[in-house]
Amino acid sequence: MNRLNWTVTGFGILALCCLTLVAADEIATLRQGAAIDEEVVAEAIPRVIDTDVRPQRNYPMQPPTIPHKTRGYELNLQVNKCMSCHARTRTEESRAPMISVTHYMNRDGNFLAEVSPRRYFCNQCHVNQTAARPLIENTFEDMDVLLEKRSEKEQED
């Protein structure tokens, strides 16, 4: 290899190092300041909320969150463990809320006898909640709060 080639290779390596540094800096924010070659110790897995208190929804169309543990609940083509309590026919005994009527509708708006296939997999929309600290601050405001704020503002004007 001649001298020119060596120089080019040298510059190449330097450039790569710089790039890696930049990349490391960028990734650092997502990795709690740890470099790419460091291993970050994961935080403890937070506990699943198991209070059985039906939580308020943040907006009317929100799928309600699950206020109980669902470890080991099978949900596949053969079994739907959720439905063993939340199905229409099971709610008297289980006293769980029945899945809403929209779950029986197909996409043409017709009501079916059983839960519609497109609504079968509950955890596509409904999830457990954990007692974890939010990673970023949540500034969400309920629409009631927004309306109140607006009316306050209008009164001021």
């Binding site: 099978e74 053969q78 063993s84």
Partner: protein, 195 residues
């Protein structure tokens, strides 16, 4: 052949000529202990998880499923092995169950569930056997560890304590009625009560 059996029958019926009654009694006693010990040792050897999963049918299907569940891995490290749930602990019931389980030897020889597909196809039937057994004996194997008298309802979730203090306490329901598939995957549950 018949002559031979007749001779043995005659010999058994005759008093001993060469051996004293003491030697015979003692010999019988010792032989009895050895037979009984050997029998029990063999019985207990078949009553281990190691023995169960020495067949690939158990090792590759049900055992792998168990490993995901709370009966295998949990915060306190107490775990259930196959016989804890599938074989009664009392001696008489255990022998009864073991005699039933000879059917499994038949199944092994004739390869009724030697592939995953065959196993899945037969899973509902096999599961129904276990549900029927646990319903019939009031979930005896569950209760070997989960003793109702010592359950602390205050430590349970509201939902669980409600159900345990009513349906379970009154004996209307037994463990398996609600807790199906806690250690293994469930079969197709179409038509099963409560699903």
């Amino acid at each position: 052949m018949l002559q031979y059996f007749r001779k043995i029958w005659r010999d058994i019926g005759r008093p001993s000529v060469h051996y004293s009654i003491g030697a015979l009694t003692l010999g019988g006693f010792i032989a009895g202990i050895m037979f009984w010990g050997g029998f029990n040792t063999a019985l207990e050897a078949t009553n281990t998880e190691e023995f169960c999963i020495s067949c690939h049918e158990m090792q590759e299907n049900v055992y792998q499923e168990l490993r995901q569940t709370i009966h295998f891995s949990n915060r306190s490290g107490v775990r259930a092995t196959c016989p804890d749930c599938h074989v009664p602990h009392g001696w008489t019931d255990k022998i009864g169950r073991k005699m039933q389980a000879t059917k499994e030897v038949w199944g092994k020889i004739f390869q009724t569930i030697n592939t995953r597909e065959k196993f899945l196809e037969k899973r509902r039937e096999l599961a129904e056997h276990e549900w029927a057994r646990l319903s019939a004996n009031n979930s005896l194997e569950c209760r070997n560890c989960h003793n109702f008298d010592f359950m602390d309802f205050t430590a349970q979730s509201p939902r669980a304590s409600e159900q345990h203090s009513t349906s379970l306490a009154s004996g209307v329901k037994t463990c398996i009625d609600c807790h199906k598939g806690i250690a293994h995957e469930l079969p197709d549950m179409a038509g099963v009560e409560g699903y």
